[in-house]
């Protein structure tokens, strides 16, 4: 579960940086310096996150509603941090000692 938790945090962090820093810089300050960097980084983070989600589902570590929750959370700034705590709780409940 560790890999999925880290991917969730990374995706959530890059989304906040994209929405909270890069986009305001364009639309408020008119400076387009951060988006060309943050856009591709977030895109990569999202794809790796999706890979971890599908893998965890196929491994039966999370159910389909869990997949829906994680994917929906990936589009809402801040939700990924709540989802990461949820994943941590699941890992603790399952006693999932095996690293994902």
């Amino acid at each position: 579960m560790i890999g999925l938790q880290r991917a969730t945090l990374f995706e959530g962090t890059t989304l906040i940086l994209l929405f909270g820093v890069a986009m305001p810089l364009i639309y408020v300050a008119g400076v387009d310096v951060a988006t060309p960097v943050m856009g591709p980084i977030h895109g990569l983070g999202f794809m790796v996150f999706m890979w971890f989600v599908v893998r965890a589902w196929a491994e039966e570590l999370i159910s389909f509603p869990g997949v829906a929750r994680l994917v929906a959370g990936a589009f809402i700034p801040g939700a990924s941090f709540l989802n990461e705590r949820w994943l941590r709780r699941i890992a603790a409940e399952n006693g999932a000692a095996h690293a994902v």
């Binding site: 895109g43 790796v48 999706m50 890979w51 989600v53 599908v54 589902w57 196929a58 039966e60 095996h98």
Partner: protein, 131 residues
Amino acid sequence: MLYEIAKVAHLLSLFIWIGGMIAVLVALHAPQREVLQAIKVYDRSVTTPAMIAALIFGILLGVLGGWFSSGWLGLKIILVLALTGLHGVLVGRLRRTVTNNVVVPGNSLNMLILVGPLVLLLIILLVVMKP
């Protein structure tokens, strides 16, 4: 020059990624504990890093070539997401089989054998034709 280097690295990592996916598929069709364990280690150390490298170099190619404004790349990204998901399904099944000793019947993987080449075909068509 950087574009050509990125293209070579993208193709190389793509071939390694696809090769690793085929190895997982074949191993799951005729499950043997030692083979599955070896493939799991190979996937973790070679195939998955190759997938991430293919994504990184693909994004780099898109940035360097200015392709992100092209419609075909949007479609390609969706197909790459599908290919990534396919790999996720294969590795998830592999890990479940190794960890829980649960053998998934080979027939349930037949769909993946069809879907994988189809997705690849569409990706190649998009990249070559750039409609």
